[in-house]
């Protein structure tokens, strides 16, 4: 099996890894900093992603809480883990095992990538729609920008990964050229 890589391949790998690292870094302020501030006559609260999910669950809206948890916590984590797995499987000097399954993983990652923006649109819509002065008010907080940046970076990292590196390479010795 020809496991040589070209400079262009290595560039692509580096790009994907660097973007994934940036996404992982941005997920820290996204989860630590608050994303939303809601104010009603009953109460005012400033929420991070986690405290917002807990708040939704406590208010009885556990279905919405589950959706937010899936979109904002589960999917970004799974994307980064899936990318790490793909990068590990295509590391230099190792034959790729189960290329079909890994390619399916890659297309799954590409598909679910955009759904993490659900939370960002949720906050944006609420901030724009709920502006009733003292009665009800919703404002975004800095954490949501970090989260949006993290989602965009995961999408870019997934797009930068070349799935052709997953394909089995036919050895030069077998008489045919390597598939580029």
């Amino acid at each position: 099996m020809n496991t040589e890589t070209t400079v262009a391949d290595r560039r692509k790998r580096t790009r994907s890894i660097a973007l994934a690292c940036a996404a992982a870094i941005m997920l820290v302020p996204a989860n630590v900093l608050p994303i939303l501030h809601t104010q009603t006559p009953g109460q005012a609260r400033t929420d991070t992603i986690f405290s917002g999910i807990v708040g939704l669950y406590k208010s009885g809206l556990w279905a919405i809480g589950a959706i937010v948890f899936t979109a904002s916590v589960l999917i970004p984590a799974l994307k980064l883990l899936g990318l790490a797995w793909l990068q590990w499987a295509t590391r230099c000097g190792a034959p790729v095992r189960n290329p079909r399954g890994l390619t399916q993983l890659y297309s799954a990652l590409r598909f679910i990538g955009r759904w993490s923006m659900l939370d960002v649109f949720f906050v944006a819509f609420l901030s724009g729609a709920v502006r009733f002065g003292l009665f009800a008010n919703v404002e975004p907080r800095p954490g949501i920008f970090a989260f949006a940046a993290a989602v965009v970076l995961t999408v870019l990292a997934t797009a930068a990964f070349d799935p052709r590196t997953l394909w089995p390479k036919i050895s030069r010795d077998a008489g045919t050229t390597a598939i580029p």
């Binding site: 580096t14 790009r15 870094i25 630590v32 006559p41």
Partner: protein, 196 residues
């Protein structure tokens, strides 16, 4: 036919430009987190006899009409004699927490002398502060009543004695020739109107 030109081999290791992105992410993310925690001011504790209307994350501390802090927790004192309100000040408002600073809870007032502080009906009770001038402190005993205004810039303050109360209450207006010319104010304790 000319031989193809020899390729130029560069031995310089060049770091791909893309690593700027995670470095920028580190810088921006770190700055965001730092800024958030840098703007947090000190946390102070105020003891009140009653904490009616004071709620965590909702009740704000107001000074000169501006919110300068938020209540983080309201707990009963261990000996059940009152409540202990923990409050986090904004960083810019840290100088308000001095040794002889006074804190009091403000509720809506509806009485004969007029209706005041109605916005607290919608926003809930608020805590007001009059900063002192001592050393910075973190533990305070809150006032039970609104203190009298500190400086009467115009006019003079008088102490009146009478045989009967005449249904007066703190805040009752004083009229001269049917024109409201003054307003009685609580003098800092409930014993302002004393039978003599």
């Amino acid at each position: 036919m000319n031989p193809p030109p020899t390729p130029r081999i560069s031995r310089r290791p060049n770091l791909p430009l893309v690593w700027v992105v995670p470095l920028a992410a580190l810088a921006v993310g770190g700055w965001m987190v730092w800024r958030e925690f840098h703007h947090r001011g000190p946390e102070i504790t105020i003891e009140f006899a009653e904490g009616a209307g004071v709620e965590p994350d909702k009740t704000t501390l107001r000074y000169k009409g501006v919110a300068v802090g938020t209540v983080t927790a309201v707990d009963l004192k261990p000996d059940m004699s009152g409540v202990s309100v923990r409050l986090r000040l904004d960083k810019t408002a840290a100088p308000l927490a001095r040794e002889d600073s006074h804190f009091w809870i403000v509720h809506p007032e509806i009485g004969f002398s007029g209706v005041r502080r109605l916005e607290t009906l919608l926003t809930g009770a608020r805590i007001h502060v009059r900063p002192g001038s001592g050393a910075p402190a973190t533990h305070f005993r809150g006032l039970e009543d609104i203190p009298p205004p500190e400086n009467v810039s115009a006019g003079r303050a008088f102490m009146l004695r009478s045989d009967r109360l005449g249904s007066l209450s703190p805040g009752a207006p004083v009229f001269y020739r049917e024109v409201k010319s003054a307003r009685s104010r609580p003098a800092g304790s409930r014993t302002m109107l004393r039978p003599c």
